[in-house]
């Protein structure tokens, strides 16, 4: 397979995944903003949404205050933000179109129809009061794309590169969501921190569609360290770091097997995967949750570059 083709698939999947993650973050932001101050809603909330999306620099350049509308505009449609939802859909479609024959018709139609529909959006669709519908639509499109990929692609290298892109983007997003809220997750003497914290934890779970999953896995009331445990170390949680790394390890191994070569990306995935797989949440907290996550985000990005270096260029 051409390196460029693999690169197109990898980034196609990343951009679609990113659009969905941004939509989830905004959804949580809206939810938190609708809560009373006492329950945790405050102006800082929108700032953390920007941080979690990794867009602090581009947002600062807009010179706007982090109000609901300013953050929504920046993360959904600001042309100056390469990670805005519209920019992601545009880039996804560009990658899909450049590799029209490498993807299945169903994948193409998922991407192309999302792009066509995005062109029909009007200003009022981005207003605070209406934007929820738009976010739902983004999630739906992303899920349709994922479904098309899972349901229609041959299980060969093309599929593996697509899954690698999805997994690396998702791991980055989950780690950022956790890092922005790390301070409310630190274990405390009391074990619970009142209503305010309860909603903060719920918001984290919601942003990765895990509030039900939490209860199924732990059969317990909300405890902050368990929220961290769920999103970092539980393999059954599909957006946890370890689940993403299970995927990355599996598909990098498949590529190594098929092509008969290994590189730095294979060493790195082995090391990082083992650390997640055999890690304990106590140790994560002992190192410091923030330090742990910062290091992870950094290494995850190195892994992405190493995959590019080995296969995509």
């Amino acid at each position: 397979m051409l390196s460029r083709t693999a690169d197109n698939l990898f980034w196609l999947a990343r951009y679609i995944e990113r659009s969905e993650n941004v939509a989830r973050l905004l959804d949580v932001g809206l939810r938190m903003a609708s809560l009373s101050q006492e329950a945790g809603g405050d102006a800082m909330e929108w700032r953390s949404t920007i941080l979690a999306a990794g867009c602090e620099q581009s947002f600062a350049a807009t010179g706007r205050e982090p109000t609901a509308q300013a953050v929504i505009d920046h993360l959904t449609r600001d042309p100056a933000n390469p990670s805005s939802i519209l920019a992601c859909l545009e880039m996804a479609r560009r990658n899909a179109r450049a590799d029209r024959t490498g993807i299945t018709t169903d994948m193409w139609e998922a991407v192309n129809s999302a792009w066509l529909e995005a062109r029909q959006l009007r200003d009022e669709d981005f207003a605070v009061g209406n934007v929820r519908r738009l976010l739902e639509w983004v999630k739906e499109r992303s899920l349709r794309f994922g479904g098309a990929a899972m349901g229609t692609m041959l299980r060969n290298d093309a599929y593996w590169f697509t899954r690698l892109g999805m997994a690396i983007e998702r791991a980055d997003s989950t780690a950022r969501i956790l890092d922005v809220k790390y301070h409310v997750l630190l274990p405390r003497e009391s074990g619970v921190g009142g209503t305010r914290y309860y909603y903060q934890w719920t918001s984290i779970l919601r942003s990765v569609s895990a509030q039900r999953a939490y209860h199924w896995v732990y059969r317990d009331r909300l405890k902050p360290w368990l929220v961290a445990d769920l999103l970092i170390l539980r393999p059954e949680m599909p957006r946890s770091l370890v689940a993403c790394y299970d995927d990355l390890a599996r598909y990098l191994e498949a590529l190594a097997g098929a092509y008969g070569t290994r590189g730095e990306c294979h060493r790195l995935i082995g090391q990082m995967h083992a650390r997640l797989r055999y890690g304990r949440i106590e140790d994560v907290f002992r190192q410091g949750l923030h330090e742990y996550l910062t290091e992870f985000i950094e290494q995850n990005s190195v892994l992405g570059s190493e995959i590019s270096r080995h296969y995509l260029s």
């Binding site: 397979m1 051409l2 390196s3 460029r4 290298d157 995509l312």
Partner: protein, 471 residues
Amino acid sequence: MPPVAFDEMGPMESCRPPYARVRDWLAATSPEAMETRRREAEFIFRRTGITFAVYTEGGDPERLIPFDVIPRVIDGAEWDALSRGLAQRVKALNAFIADMYGAQEFLRAGRIPAELVLRNPGFLAQMQGLSVAQDVYTHVAGIDVVRVSPDEFYVLEDNCRTPSGVSYMLENREVMTRLFPDLLTRCRVRPVSHYPDLLLDTLRSVAPRNCKGDPVVALLTPGHFNSAYYEHSFLADEMGIELVEGVDLVVQDLVAYMRTTRGLKRVDVVYRRIDDAFLDPSCFRADSVLGVPGIMDAYRAGNVTIANAPGAGVSDDKAVYTFVPDMVRFYLGEEPLLRNVPTWRCSEKEGLAYALDHLHELVVKDVAGSGGYGMLVGPHATVAERAEFAARLRARPDGYIAQPTLALSTCPTFVASGVAPRHVDLRPYVLVGREIRLVPGGLTRVALREGSLVVNSSQGGGTKDTWVLEG
């Protein structure tokens, strides 16, 4: 106005024999039913994404070429005669191009003015003395043919550079197969869908001299912004070869490689769909980002074949066209089976004088033009347009040729007012490798406006499926 055109079907009550079954079908089909089918066809085209771009217009950048559901029928014997003429012509064209980059015997024998070749923008000095596999320069030639009577075909122009449109020939048949399977079966139509197989076979047969083992073929496209990108991806897909862009290829030690996820992979034959000028920035246009630096060196070293060969466009010039019948005699020692349209070269004094005097009845074309741009159809032009064109002719006479306005044949076509005759042409595709091969038929283009003779898709033309009958 030109004389009354020959209609390939003829009147409903006494149609020509090859059209009998299509006539019966037309008689039994209501305009409403036809309209439903037309919509279905359009839906299929849009869904598959068969679009093309029109550069000079605003509006939808991904537009559909209108498709007419009424097939154009060609009798088997008519086709066989035509295809013999096409094979002969393309053989002579290849010999001419090879000669122009070799000994230039045609020039030295005084059969063509040297400046017509040497100052022709399609002529590439870099190709001189370079030996190419099997001496083939144009591997895929699109020869535009028009018909004026039951047994008279004329060649309108030769496209030896990088002719496009073959995907429409294939997709048109695919759509017709889905919409009218019964009619197709009843008519016993010769198939065309093996074209990609023949093309791949042709490309593999011209592997470079240093190729060992199974030749690896790739299709080089300028990328998805190109108007024919759909065709490029379609053909690559059908042939099962990689669709590459310039950045995917790299030349090391005079060998061309593709960058793949397994590392570099050697490429033997590049079927390129980018223009000569963009092929190799180290040899032609230095600012090209579409091409592959060094590929001309690899080509010269016999490590890769470029198809069609750079410089093959030297014979596409409309002034050079006038010499093709003579090329057939000169290189093959045969009488040409296909005729040229009588042509006046405005570069010559008498030619220019004649053209200026008869502008109202002539078609005047830019020698380097294509796509229906830069031409004047005298009988359809206004007085002002003719005056403006006459000025252009006087200013640059060697840039133009003039031809009589031919009464292009018509075929029944479904238009807003119902079924009506419209003018058509035909572009068959001739494949040249170790042997010369054609699939029966080609791309029929139809001028959808009443009376119009311009069939180009960029000028409001559409397409039809072309049915060559068995027997």
